[in-house]
Subunit: 465 residues, 2 copies
Amino acid sequence: MALAYPRRKALSGDLNAALASRFGQRFSTSLAVREHHGKDASYHPSMPPDAVVFAESTSEVAETVKLCAVAKMPVIAFGTGTGLEGNIAALEGGVTIDLSRMNRILRVSAEDLDCTVEAGVTRKQLNQHLRDTGLFFPVDPGADASLGGMAATRASGTNAVRYGTMRENVLALTVVLADGRIIRTSRRARKSAAGYDLTRLFVGSEGTLGVITEVSLRLYGMPEAIRAACCAFPDIERAVQTVVATIQAGVPVARIELIDAVTMDAVNRYSKLDYKVAPTLMFEFHGTERGVEEQVEQVRGFASEHGGSEFRWASGHEERNKLWQARHDAYFATLALRPGSEGWATDVCVPISNLPQCIAETERDLAQTGLMAPIVGHAGDGNFHLVFLLDPKNPAEFKEAERINRRMVERAIAMDGTCTGEHGIGYGKNHFLIAEHGEALSVMRAVKHALDPDNIMNPGKILPA
Amino acid sequence: MALAYPRRKALSGDLNAALASRFGQRFSTSLAVREHHGKDASYHPSMPPDAVVFAESTSEVAETVKLCAVAKMPVIAFGTGTGLEGNIAALEGGVTIDLSRMNRILRVSAEDLDCTVEAGVTRKQLNQHLRDTGLFFPVDPGADASLGGMAATRASGTNAVRYGTMRENVLALTVVLADGRIIRTSRRARKSAAGYDLTRLFVGSEGTLGVITEVSLRLYGMPEAIRAACCAFPDIERAVQTVVATIQAGVPVARIELIDAVTMDAVNRYSKLDYKVAPTLMFEFHGTERGVEEQVEQVRGFASEHGGSEFRWASGHEERNKLWQARHDAYFATLALRPGSEGWATDVCVPISNLPQCIAETERDLAQTGLMAPIVGHAGDGNFHLVFLLDPKNPAEFKEAERINRRMVERAIAMDGTCTGEHGIGYGKNHFLIAEHGEALSVMRAVKHALDPDNIMNPGKILPA
């Protein structure tokens, strides 16, 4: 879907020269670098910026933004490029600030269970760094995304059902505003009633209000016991009902992931596993030894009431990692089901009581099309994804996927849900925001205009034109 | 401390007539009604509005705001008047909208563990309503505050250490904007990445961006087991160290409250109890029977390492309620220590590792003044209060309390903490916001100006002049 966006103007010679002289080899206008920075991990085509700056500090980001502000050129923040809704596409050209070199872990406080990192630090890097401290950072969207990008997207993933999303786990941010000023959104106390919650205003703002350069995060003590298991079901409905029962009973499961039979088959092949090919729930339990036992007992009860198989345990650290890596690779595994295909990952989220109906109706839609679209989901949150496997040379397939996706989003919104649980809006979903937010969208526009009057921060994202 | 604020203008005859004709007996300009609505539960003097409207629906609030917007008259939302920083004082006159008649519980979904209530529903009313459902709403600031007011203040209280504050527990809000338009800030899905987080922008905005008229809240299953206990310590430092050890170990205590010896004595007298007069921690444990046992074992270990006494259990529902009611009444109990005194409750919050030092330095300050100021705290969050007991006829005491409070706030901010953990800013603390937020304050101002360009929504609150 190549989209024609108005490019406002090319990079002026002055701005080009100023950035080149300031950043030297860390400033690039090469086509390869620009194209790389215009493309995320989704089906959205590359929309390259005019230039890329590789920043190494908050003050370098501020300098870059100031220069762009004077020239009224767009500024796009780039972490790892693992977004899924074109969140980093340079729709109107401009300068992309690559934050991947801002990868210092600035502070870890085991005493306060928190840390501060630069925006380019990835979640795996952080957890690797924490390995010997007995602490970990739970938010896990699958990809090894940067923590700045995860904050900007309000990312979540497999652990959110217990530990929350980036909304709950960001304590404070350092942000470069649209005029280059630098703010810290909050102090480090666990709670505060001191003024507007700027931290959460910037979490999920996708670079449209400012560039996040540092992130303070909550950390958690590594649980005494961790156990992971898979459970196969006769059909997807009964798997989902097991999820609903588990959540309604308040069992503090750490992960409760749904994958359908097609995905299970694909995952088996891709990751060389031999799980039963069936709709499957993948669980992880965190707690004390006894606490985990209790959780397992409860959930096993719900599963067996709904026709679930015996639990198959992934015992030991290594086997568990293998299971979750396989779950994370599900996207690539499903792509391999149709070689040469392009993946389009959808992302709705509904109140948990509506999840069975929402999935059932979506399956009925799918049964009536020729499209292949396996289902995976962070079912404990009411969040699931179809991955459409599309022939990139066949626009009719994209059109049909668009139709199914639109119906799915409308269905989710009608069920008091959202058009995106965790991927964000980018420019792939901004047309759904009117239906989702109605008049509230005018408040978002007012905030955007107040903080970025010249609309230079990641223009064309989140807010529909 | 009578403060001279400029009253912009008296209520015009037109606005007066329009409101009187629309609301009849639910519109009042009587002095008694106005004075009641200008006074909260704090030492701040009454600052009465020009008139009070008793609204019964969101659309009535919208009508009132629209009329005030045309006349550019201030609008102040009023719930129960239990705030502590003059949050509802009508500094510039205007119209107070009393929301206490908006007390309908609109929806409870046991399946989704959430509900929607009108802003005037109080937390006790909600929990009373939920009694037979096996669910409860945990946020508990002590006072039987309205849920709209709690959202507006970003309130928390004794349960926040486990269940979070209003920030974590509000799912969505209905808000009347400064021009009378009505928005819903979010849909009901547990997570969403669909645009700016307006819910959390309005949570804690103290009526300065709009009037909250409906609140959707997370609910929790009543735990299988609840146990509460008190533990006495030889000094306050060792009590605080026990709290720090408990939090750092990640024990999911539901409540961990600190009260000093003076307060314990006052509470014993006021609530006819016979706890040992000593610095004391009050615990509540929630979980399965076995889970609670494990928590108790762990915490008892930490307490005894720090010289804590045997746990004294409040067994049974009734005795437990009595204990927490006594804790909630600590404020009144301490007031009774000095008959005729006025209470001034301070409210700082720091990262937990800094709590022992912050309390110790504050105690040293207190030792050097003649003021009486018992300490209570939601210590698990790093949050504590002094309650100054002041002679209302002695301005020197207020001045000294102000000095100690200023030093305490500066100390908390220097420790990366906040000037208010849960009471909000009102007009009692806005002069601290520059030190706390620095440049970020300009972003708050920009947001305020964008949403309320004529500054009619609760003017003079949060943002310093």
